[in-house]
C-alpha cells in the first residue's frame, strides 16, 4: 500500500467534495489512482481529455506513482 495525496480541480473537486485527500492505495500508476478515486466519488469522466500531474510535473496516465506522491487530477481544461 502507498500513501498518496490526491488533489482535485474544478468538476472533480465538486464530485469529491474536497480539495484534496490522503489515501492509502494499492496502486502502481496514475491511471490506477484515477480509477480508484473515480469509483470512490462516483465520477464517470473518461480519461480521454483529462490530464494528470505528479508532484507538480505533468505526467502520463501510465506514469508510476510512489509512496508519498501527490497526484493532481485535472478534468478537461478550457483556457482562453
Amino acid at each position: 500500500m502507498k500513501t498518496i495525496t490526491v488533489r482535485y480541480f474544478a468538476i472533480f473537486r465538486e464530485h469529491a467534495g474536497v480539495d484534496e485527500e490522503t489515501l492509502s492505495l494499492d496502486v502502481t500508476s496514475a491511471m490506477d489512482v484515477f480509477e480508484r478515486t473515480r469509483a470512490r466519488h462516483g465520477s464517470s469522466e473518461p480519461t480521454g481529455h483529462c490530464k494528470v500531474a505528479i508532484n507538480d510535473e505533468m505526467a502520463e496516465w501510465s506514469s508510476g506513482v510512489n509512496d508519498g506522491d501527490t497526484v493532481l487530477l485535472f478534468p478537461p481544461v478550457a483556457g482562453g
Binding site: I11, P76, V77, G79
Partner: protein
C-alpha cells in the same frame, strides 16, 4: 513571459512592453468573455487556475513558439477569478522582425494555451445555474487543424 492575473489585464501597459527596434510586425490577440455559448446566455464566468503548473506550461508554449516562429518579444497573460461580459480573459502579444512570424507565433500560443494549461472555465447562465465548460471540442478542432497542416503537437 507568461503570467496569471487575478486582476484586469493592463492592456496599455503590456502594449508598451512590446516595443523592439528590430520588430517590423506586432500581433496581438485578446480573448474576451462572450455573452453566449452553445445557445445559452452567459452572464459572467470564472476561471479556476492551478497557477504553479499553468505558468510552467505557459512558459513552455512560448518557448515552443520561439523555436517554430522566431520572434523578438512575446508575452501572454491569462486571467483567473470572476470575469464579466467583455472582460479580457487572455492576452497574447508577439513582436517579430516580420509579420508572418508575429501572426503564426501568436496563433500558436493562443491555440496551445487553450488546450494545455490547467485552467477551467465555469459559466454562470442567465437562469442562475452554472456549468463547467468542457473544451473537448476545441481540442479536437485543434488536432484536426494540425493534421491538415501536417504538423504534430
Amino acid at each position: 513571459m507568461f503570467e496569471i492575473s487575478e486582476n484586469d489585464i493592463a492592456i496599455d501597459a503590456l502594449r508598451e512592453q512590446m516595443k523592439d527596434p528590430g520588430a517590423g510586425g506586432y500581433c496581438v490577440f485578446e480573448g474576451r468573455v462572450r455573452n453566449e455559448n452553445e445557445g445559452r446566455m452567459v452572464e459572467r464566468l470564472e476561471y479556476e487556475v492551478y497557477e504553479p503548473l499553468a505558468v510552467k506550461e505557459g512558459e513552455r508554449v512560448l518557448e515552443e513558439a520561439q523555436q517554430r516562429f522566431p520572434y523578438l518579444l512575446a508575452f501572454c497573460v491569462h486571467r483567473s477569478g470572476l470575469l464579466e461580459i467583455g472582460d479580457c480573459a487572455v492576452w497574447v502579444g508577439v513582436a517579430a522582425a516580420h509579420r508572418d512570424e508575429a501572426f503564426q507565433a501568436c496563433r500558436y500560443i493562443i491555440d496551445e494555451i487553450k488546450v494545455r494549461l490547467p485552467v477551467w472555465k465555469k459559466e454562470h447562465y442567465a437562469g442562475g445555474d452554472s456549468g463547467w465548460v468542457n473544451c473537448e471540442r476545441c481540442a479536437s478542432v485543434l488536432r484536426q487543424s494540425k493534421d491538415q497542416n501536417g504538423k504534430g503537437s
